[in-house]
């Protein structure tokens, strides 16, 4: 029943925050001296990426919870979080690709750690769905999905390290720890965009979860009626 209360609140917060975020990103944040308008995609691209990580992390947390408690709800929650993560991840790849095209003139750049990492993660988590749809529903599937989801969050830092290392022989680039410095107003806009994106995730998560639960109770009801 809790969802019935939180969902409208979340949806309203999401709408408000997104309106604010779009307004700030387009009108309030100062124009980038170097890249001009195209830099503004940053306010969506990076929050999308961070939200995708949050989704995968949340999915793994629920997976761990499932393995410990064998609570079916945790399995569903883990699945929904990863599902959202893949959607956010796909959008990250898309926005990153657009940004790369505008600022570097190429659709894809192997030199960009974040993009390559997302490709690896995208491949990994797409296989999660192949696994899930290939095994019959039940505790065995829930177990495997949970184990796979846990491998995913461990793979994230390992892959990131690998991609950093691979630059030494693919791309002779010096490690750069200090990224482009942001001004206060840019950082504020960025934070609002990130909050908006995370709320969007929470809203979509709640909607999909509610839908899936409804679907299941409906099916159970149907089975009861036919039995």
């Amino acid at each position: 029943m809790r969802i019935h209360l939180t969902l409208p609140v979340l949806a309203a917060a999401c709408t408000g925050l997104f309106g604010l975020a779009i307004g700030l990103a387009l009108f309030y944040a100062p124009e980038d001296a170097d890249q001009g308008l195209s830099q503004r995609i940053f306010y969506f691209h990076v929050p999308l990426a961070l939200t995708a990580y949050a989704c995968f992390g949340w999915g793994a947390w629920k997976a761990l919870k499932y393995l410990r408690t064998r609570d079916e709800r945790a399995d569903l929650e883990s699945y929904v979080a990863i599902h959202q993560g893949v959607i956010f991840g796909a959008l990250t790849l898309l926005t990153g690709s657009i940004w790369a095209r505008v600022s570097w003139g190429v659709w894809w750049s192997w030199g960009e750690d974040e993009l390559v990492l997302f490709l690896v993660l995208f491949l990994f988590y797409c296989a999660y769905f192949m696994l899930r749809f290939s095994v019959d529903a039940g505790p065995a599937r829930a177990n495997m999905s949970a184990v796979y989801a846990l491998f995913g969050v461990v793979l994230i830092p390992v892959s990131f390290l690998a991609i950093r290392l691979s630059k030494q022989f693919i791309h002779p680039v010096v490690f750069k720890l200090d990224g482009p410095q942001m001004t206060g107003s840019q950082f504020f806009t960025f934070c609002v965009c990130l909050a908006a994106m995370l709320t969007l995730f929470a809203t979509l998560y709640a909607i999909e979860l509610a839908g899936k639960r409804l679907d299941r109770s409906l099916r159970e009801l149907k089975e009861l009626l036919t039995a």
């Binding site: 491949l123 296989a127 192949m130 290939s134 846990l150 461990v154 390992v158 030494q168």
Partner: protein, 205 residues
């Protein structure tokens, strides 16, 4: 029975089975040689060492995949999984035994593949051989766990490459670049994780 003797018995069973049936190893050997031959023609003449070394890693990963796909076929076809789970051994011992057997097959295939590579292309250095051995550990530990997952699915042979290849990307990076410490790190992390997770993968099958 101690844990070690359980593992040894399980690994011995797989090796004995292979010794008698000869199903996996010959196909792995033929595959890796055929792949290297294809790579010879795929590469333009006068290609650098680095490019050839990259293809060696591609060949090794796919050969390992071939072995891993076969790893649980006997268990599946003879419905051995239930029997294995009923035996009074720690479930992770099943994983370790299988991983050791797959490792043995892979090393056996590489004993032929690496000299063949050295003869076909530009020779080998000690660092590459060390990287191959370290990579094998990572491949077998993770691959065995995912192999056990894949046989439970309907897609089976199709599923394992999809599950495993994204996991193998860091191995390829570590192998091609010769980052031995990275491979050791990868092996340690994922061997531990696979060892802990195997129980959950088979307990409900």
């Amino acid at each position: 029975m101690t844990y070690a003797s359980d593992v040894a018995a399980l690994a011995r069973k797989d090796l004995l089975l292979e010794l008698r049936a000869k199903e996996t190893l010959p196909s792995m050997l033929l595959f890796v040689i055929a792949a290297l031959t294809i790579f010879h023609f795929a590469l333009p003449t006068g290609t650098s060492d680095v490019a050839a070394r990259g293809l060696l890693w591609a060949a090794l990963i796919f050969t390992a995949l071939l072995g891993l796909t076969r790893a649980f076929v006997a268990e599946r076809e003879q419905s051995m999984f239930d029997a294995l789970i009923l035996t009074p051994v720690d479930r992770s011992a099943i994983w370790l035994g299988k991983a050791i057997a797959v490792f043995a097959f892979l090393v056996a295939a590489e004993v032929v593949a690496l000299p063949a590579f050295a003869a076909f292309f530009h020779g080998l250095d000690g660092r590459t051989v060390a990287a191959v051995v370290l990579a094998d550990i990572g491949i077998c530990t993770v691959g065995t766990l995912f192999g056990a997952m894949a046989v439970a699915g309907r897609a089976r042979e199709l599923l394992l490459p999809l599950l495993f290849l994204p996991m193998a990307i860091p191995i390829v990076v570590g192998g091609v670049g010769g980052f031995l410490w990275f491979l050791v790190l990868y092996d340690a992390i994922f061997a531990l994780l696979s060892w802990a997770a195997f129980e959950y993968v088979v307990s409900e099958v």
